[in-house]
Amino acid sequence: MKRLIRAGVVLAGLALAAALILALVQLPAAVVHLPALVATNLAQSGVEHPVTAVLLNFRGYDTLLEVAVLLLALLTLLALSGGEAPAPVGAADPLLQGLARKALPLIVLSAGYLLWAGAHRPGGAFQAGAVLAAGAVLLQLAGLLPAWAAPRLLLRLGLTLGFFVFLAVAAALLVGGALLRYPPASAGGLIFLIEAGLTLSLGLILAGLFLFVTGRRA
Protein backbone atom coordinates (compact mmCIF):
# COMPACT_ATOMS: atom_id res chain seq x y z
CA MET A 1 0.00 0.00 0.00
CA LYS A 2 2.82 2.37 0.90
CA ARG A 3 4.59 1.60 -2.35
CA LEU A 4 1.40 2.35 -4.24
CA ILE A 5 1.08 5.73 -2.54
CA ARG A 6 4.70 6.51 -3.25
CA ALA A 7 4.30 5.60 -6.94
CA GLY A 8 1.15 7.69 -7.13
CA VAL A 9 2.83 10.75 -5.63
CA VAL A 10 5.85 10.41 -7.93
CA LEU A 11 3.62 10.09 -11.00
CA ALA A 12 1.50 13.05 -9.95
CA GLY A 13 4.66 15.06 -9.37
CA LEU A 14 6.04 14.22 -12.81
CA ALA A 15 2.72 15.13 -14.42
CA LEU A 16 2.66 18.45 -12.55
CA ALA A 17 6.24 19.19 -13.56
CA ALA A 18 5.47 18.43 -17.22
CA ALA A 19 2.36 20.63 -17.18
CA LEU A 20 4.21 23.52 -15.53
CA ILE A 21 7.18 23.28 -17.89
CA LEU A 22 4.84 23.31 -20.88
CA ALA A 23 3.07 26.35 -19.47
CA LEU A 24 6.33 28.19 -18.81
CA VAL A 25 7.76 27.57 -22.25
CA GLN A 26 4.60 28.78 -23.98
CA LEU A 27 4.17 32.01 -22.02
CA PRO A 28 3.36 35.07 -24.15
CA ALA A 29 5.49 38.19 -23.86
CA ALA A 30 4.81 40.32 -20.80
CA VAL A 31 2.25 43.11 -21.13
CA VAL A 32 3.17 45.15 -18.07
CA HIS A 33 6.79 46.31 -17.84
CA LEU A 34 7.47 46.90 -14.18
CA PRO A 35 11.16 47.80 -14.49
CA ALA A 36 10.22 50.77 -16.67
CA LEU A 37 7.58 51.88 -14.15
CA VAL A 38 10.07 51.65 -11.29
CA ALA A 39 12.72 53.53 -13.28
CA THR A 40 10.41 56.45 -14.10
CA ASN A 41 9.40 56.92 -10.46
CA LEU A 42 12.80 56.19 -8.92
CA ALA A 43 13.79 59.86 -8.72
CA GLN A 44 10.93 60.69 -6.36
CA SER A 45 11.29 57.63 -4.19
CA GLY A 46 14.08 59.02 -2.01
CA VAL A 47 16.67 56.32 -2.77
CA GLU A 48 18.70 55.42 -5.84
CA HIS A 49 18.58 51.64 -5.68
CA PRO A 50 15.42 50.21 -7.31
CA VAL A 51 15.06 47.19 -5.01
CA THR A 52 15.26 49.37 -1.88
CA ALA A 53 12.76 51.78 -3.42
CA VAL A 54 10.35 48.93 -4.11
CA LEU A 55 10.80 47.41 -0.65
CA LEU A 56 10.41 50.56 1.41
CA ASN A 57 8.48 52.96 -0.77
CA PHE A 58 6.43 51.46 -3.58
CA ARG A 59 5.58 48.27 -1.65
CA GLY A 60 6.28 49.58 1.83
CA TYR A 61 3.06 48.19 3.25
CA ASP A 62 4.18 44.64 2.40
CA THR A 63 7.41 45.18 4.30
CA LEU A 64 5.54 46.57 7.31
CA LEU A 65 3.34 43.50 7.47
CA GLU A 66 6.34 41.25 6.93
CA VAL A 67 8.03 42.60 10.07
CA ALA A 68 4.78 41.95 11.93
CA VAL A 69 4.83 38.34 10.69
CA LEU A 70 8.42 37.94 11.89
CA LEU A 71 7.47 39.24 15.33
CA LEU A 72 4.53 36.85 15.46
CA ALA A 73 6.78 33.91 14.60
CA LEU A 74 9.21 34.91 17.35
CA LEU A 75 6.37 35.31 19.88
CA THR A 76 5.06 31.85 19.02
CA LEU A 77 8.55 30.41 19.41
CA LEU A 78 8.81 32.07 22.84
CA ALA A 79 5.43 30.67 23.82
CA LEU A 80 6.60 27.16 22.96
CA SER A 81 9.53 27.24 25.33
CA GLY A 82 7.37 27.22 28.44
CA GLY A 83 9.85 29.17 30.50
CA GLU A 84 12.60 26.55 30.61
CA ALA A 85 16.00 27.93 31.49
CA PRO A 86 18.59 27.51 28.74
CA ALA A 87 21.69 25.41 29.37
CA PRO A 88 24.77 27.30 30.60
CA VAL A 89 27.47 28.39 28.17
CA GLY A 90 29.55 25.46 27.03
CA ALA A 91 33.31 24.88 27.17
CA ALA A 92 35.26 27.67 25.54
CA ASP A 93 37.64 27.12 22.64
CA PRO A 94 40.21 29.94 22.96
CA LEU A 95 40.98 30.01 19.23
CA LEU A 96 37.30 30.37 18.33
CA GLN A 97 36.80 32.96 21.04
CA GLY A 98 39.76 35.02 19.83
CA LEU A 99 38.48 34.84 16.26
CA ALA A 100 34.97 35.83 17.35
CA ARG A 101 36.29 38.78 19.33
CA LYS A 102 38.32 39.99 16.34
CA ALA A 103 35.45 39.47 13.93
CA LEU A 104 32.78 41.24 15.98
CA PRO A 105 33.77 44.87 15.22
CA LEU A 106 34.09 43.97 11.53
CA ILE A 107 30.63 42.41 11.61
CA VAL A 108 29.10 45.51 13.16
CA LEU A 109 30.95 47.69 10.65
CA SER A 110 29.72 45.55 7.74
CA ALA A 111 26.16 45.78 9.01
CA GLY A 112 26.40 49.56 9.27
CA TYR A 113 27.86 49.79 5.78
CA LEU A 114 25.15 47.54 4.30
CA LEU A 115 22.49 49.69 5.97
CA TRP A 116 23.94 52.90 4.57
CA ALA A 117 24.72 51.42 1.16
CA GLY A 118 21.14 50.23 0.66
CA ALA A 119 20.20 53.64 -0.68
CA HIS A 120 22.68 53.54 -3.55
CA ARG A 121 23.61 49.93 -4.22
CA PRO A 122 22.62 46.41 -3.16
CA GLY A 123 22.19 46.30 0.58
CA GLY A 124 19.64 47.61 3.01
CA ALA A 125 17.99 46.70 6.26
CA PHE A 126 17.45 42.98 5.65
CA GLN A 127 21.04 42.23 4.71
CA ALA A 128 22.39 44.36 7.56
CA GLY A 129 20.04 42.70 10.07
CA ALA A 130 21.08 39.28 8.80
CA VAL A 131 24.78 40.12 9.28
CA LEU A 132 24.09 41.32 12.84
CA ALA A 133 22.17 38.12 13.59
CA ALA A 134 25.06 36.07 12.20
CA GLY A 135 27.39 37.95 14.56
CA ALA A 136 25.18 37.15 17.55
CA VAL A 137 25.03 33.46 16.56
CA LEU A 138 28.83 33.42 16.19
CA LEU A 139 29.22 34.89 19.68
CA GLN A 140 26.88 32.28 21.14
CA LEU A 141 28.67 29.41 19.42
CA ALA A 142 32.04 30.71 20.66
CA GLY A 143 30.72 30.81 24.20
CA LEU A 144 30.90 34.60 24.59
CA LEU A 145 27.13 35.14 24.68
CA PRO A 146 24.74 33.00 26.73
CA ALA A 147 21.61 31.66 25.07
CA TRP A 148 18.67 33.95 25.71
CA ALA A 149 16.02 33.22 28.30
CA ALA A 150 12.65 34.99 28.32
CA PRO A 151 13.31 38.56 27.16
CA ARG A 152 13.37 41.38 29.67
CA LEU A 153 12.52 45.02 29.02
CA LEU A 154 15.58 46.09 27.00
CA LEU A 155 15.45 43.11 24.67
CA ARG A 156 11.70 43.52 24.21
CA LEU A 157 12.21 47.17 23.29
CA GLY A 158 14.88 46.23 20.77
CA LEU A 159 12.78 43.47 19.21
CA THR A 160 9.76 45.67 18.67
CA LEU A 161 11.50 48.98 17.92
CA GLY A 162 11.73 48.48 14.16
CA PHE A 163 8.08 47.59 13.78
CA PHE A 164 6.91 50.48 15.91
CA VAL A 165 9.13 53.03 14.16
CA PHE A 166 7.79 51.82 10.82
CA LEU A 167 4.22 51.93 12.14
CA ALA A 168 4.72 55.39 13.65
CA VAL A 169 6.05 56.78 10.36
CA ALA A 170 3.17 55.16 8.47
CA ALA A 171 0.61 56.55 10.92
CA ALA A 172 2.18 60.01 10.85
CA LEU A 173 1.97 60.01 7.06
CA LEU A 174 -1.68 59.00 7.26
CA VAL A 175 -2.60 62.61 7.97
CA GLY A 176 -1.29 63.43 4.50
CA GLY A 177 -4.04 61.31 3.00
CA ALA A 178 -2.61 57.86 2.30
CA LEU A 179 -0.66 55.30 4.29
CA LEU A 180 3.09 55.40 3.63
CA ARG A 181 2.99 58.11 0.99
CA TYR A 182 6.26 59.85 1.68
CA PRO A 183 6.58 63.54 0.75
CA PRO A 184 9.32 63.44 -1.92
CA ALA A 185 11.53 65.94 -0.11
CA SER A 186 11.89 63.91 3.09
CA ALA A 187 11.46 60.42 1.61
CA GLY A 188 15.18 59.64 1.79
CA GLY A 189 15.46 60.59 5.46
CA LEU A 190 12.32 58.74 6.46
CA ILE A 191 13.40 55.62 4.61
CA PHE A 192 16.79 55.71 6.35
CA LEU A 193 15.12 56.14 9.74
CA ILE A 194 12.86 53.17 9.09
CA GLU A 195 15.76 51.07 7.81
CA ALA A 196 17.89 51.87 10.87
CA GLY A 197 15.14 50.71 13.22
CA LEU A 198 14.52 47.67 11.03
CA THR A 199 18.21 46.71 11.05
CA LEU A 200 18.35 46.65 14.83
CA SER A 201 15.07 44.82 15.22
CA LEU A 202 15.69 42.33 12.42
CA GLY A 203 19.12 41.54 13.83
CA LEU A 204 17.57 40.85 17.23
CA ILE A 205 14.59 38.90 15.81
CA LEU A 206 16.70 36.70 13.55
CA ALA A 207 19.24 36.16 16.34
CA GLY A 208 16.36 35.40 18.70
CA LEU A 209 15.03 32.70 16.38
CA PHE A 210 18.26 30.85 17.14
CA LEU A 211 19.22 32.09 20.59
CA PHE A 212 15.88 31.61 22.34
CA VAL A 213 15.80 27.95 21.43
CA THR A 214 19.39 26.75 21.49
CA GLY A 215 20.61 24.89 24.53
CA ARG A 216 17.16 24.18 25.89
CA ARG A 217 17.10 21.09 28.00
CA ALA A 218 14.76 18.66 26.19
Binding site: M1, K2, I5, R6, V9, V10, G13, L14, L16, A17, L20, I21, L24, V25, L27, A29, A30, L34, P35, V38, P50, V51, A53, V54, L55, F58, R59, D62, T63, E66, V69, L70, A73, L74, T76, L77, L80, S81, F126, L202, I205, L206, L209, F210, V213, R216, A218
Partner: protein, 101 residues
Amino acid sequence: MSAGLLYALAGVLLFVLGAAGAMLLAHLLRKVLAFNVMGSGAFLVLVGLAQREGLADPVPQAMVLTGIVVAVAATALALGLMRALHARTGRTHLTEEVRHD
Protein backbone atom coordinates in the same frame (compact mmCIF):
# COMPACT_ATOMS: atom_id res chain seq x y z
CA MET B 1 16.47 29.91 -23.91
CA SER B 2 17.48 32.78 -21.66
CA ALA B 3 19.04 32.39 -18.23
CA GLY B 4 15.81 33.50 -16.55
CA LEU B 5 13.76 30.81 -18.27
CA LEU B 6 16.38 28.17 -17.47
CA TYR B 7 16.30 29.00 -13.76
CA ALA B 8 12.49 29.13 -13.83
CA LEU B 9 12.42 25.59 -15.22
CA ALA B 10 14.90 24.49 -12.54
CA GLY B 11 12.61 26.18 -10.00
CA VAL B 12 9.63 24.17 -11.24
CA LEU B 13 11.57 20.93 -10.82
CA LEU B 14 12.75 21.98 -7.34
CA PHE B 15 9.16 22.84 -6.38
CA VAL B 16 7.84 19.45 -7.49
CA LEU B 17 10.77 17.68 -5.81
CA GLY B 18 10.09 19.52 -2.56
CA ALA B 19 6.35 18.88 -2.72
CA ALA B 20 6.84 15.15 -3.31
CA GLY B 21 9.39 15.08 -0.50
CA ALA B 22 7.05 16.87 1.91
CA MET B 23 4.41 14.25 1.23
CA LEU B 24 6.57 11.15 1.17
CA LEU B 25 9.22 11.81 3.83
CA ALA B 26 8.11 10.83 7.31
CA HIS B 27 10.74 12.42 9.56
CA LEU B 28 9.73 15.95 10.57
CA LEU B 29 13.18 17.44 9.97
CA ARG B 30 13.15 16.07 6.43
CA LYS B 31 9.72 17.61 5.89
CA VAL B 32 11.16 20.97 6.92
CA LEU B 33 14.00 20.52 4.41
CA ALA B 34 11.50 19.59 1.69
CA PHE B 35 9.38 22.68 2.38
CA ASN B 36 12.46 24.87 2.15
CA VAL B 37 13.36 23.32 -1.21
CA MET B 38 9.79 24.02 -2.37
CA GLY B 39 10.11 27.62 -1.29
CA SER B 40 13.42 28.10 -3.07
CA GLY B 41 11.91 26.61 -6.23
CA ALA B 42 8.98 29.01 -6.04
CA PHE B 43 11.35 31.98 -5.62
CA LEU B 44 13.36 30.90 -8.67
CA VAL B 45 10.17 30.72 -10.73
CA LEU B 46 9.10 34.16 -9.51
CA VAL B 47 12.31 35.93 -10.49
CA GLY B 48 13.26 33.72 -13.43
CA LEU B 49 9.95 34.18 -15.23
CA ALA B 50 9.93 37.94 -14.69
CA GLN B 51 13.45 38.15 -16.09
CA ARG B 52 13.01 35.75 -19.01
CA GLU B 53 13.59 38.64 -21.40
CA GLY B 54 16.92 39.29 -19.73
CA LEU B 55 16.12 42.57 -17.94
CA ALA B 56 16.54 42.74 -14.15
CA ASP B 57 13.16 43.36 -12.52
CA PRO B 58 13.28 44.88 -9.01
CA VAL B 59 9.67 44.13 -7.98
CA PRO B 60 9.86 40.30 -7.85
CA GLN B 61 13.36 40.64 -6.39
CA ALA B 62 11.96 42.65 -3.49
CA MET B 63 9.19 40.08 -3.03
CA VAL B 64 11.65 37.18 -2.97
CA LEU B 65 13.77 39.07 -0.43
CA THR B 66 10.69 39.31 1.78
CA GLY B 67 9.95 35.66 1.09
CA ILE B 68 13.39 34.45 2.17
CA VAL B 69 13.16 36.21 5.53
CA VAL B 70 9.64 34.92 6.18
CA ALA B 71 10.76 31.41 5.15
CA VAL B 72 13.53 31.39 7.75
CA ALA B 73 11.06 32.51 10.43
CA ALA B 74 8.66 29.74 9.41
CA THR B 75 11.52 27.21 9.42
CA ALA B 76 12.58 28.31 12.91
CA LEU B 77 8.99 27.95 14.13
CA ALA B 78 8.62 24.52 12.50
CA LEU B 79 11.87 23.34 14.09
CA GLY B 80 10.74 24.69 17.46
CA LEU B 81 7.49 22.76 17.16
CA MET B 82 9.40 19.62 16.23
CA ARG B 83 11.71 20.02 19.23
CA ALA B 84 8.73 20.57 21.52
CA LEU B 85 7.05 17.41 20.18
CA HIS B 86 10.28 15.48 20.64
CA ALA B 87 10.72 16.82 24.18
CA ARG B 88 7.20 15.82 25.21
CA THR B 89 6.80 12.49 23.45
CA GLY B 90 10.20 11.45 22.11
CA ARG B 91 8.80 11.10 18.58
CA THR B 92 10.05 12.68 15.40
CA HIS B 93 7.25 11.33 13.21
CA LEU B 94 3.68 12.54 13.18
CA THR B 95 2.02 9.14 13.51
CA GLU B 96 3.13 5.80 14.86
CA GLU B 97 1.70 3.87 11.92
CA VAL B 98 4.69 4.84 9.80
CA ARG B 99 6.91 2.39 11.72
CA HIS B 100 4.69 -0.61 11.21
CA ASP B 101 4.90 -0.92 7.44
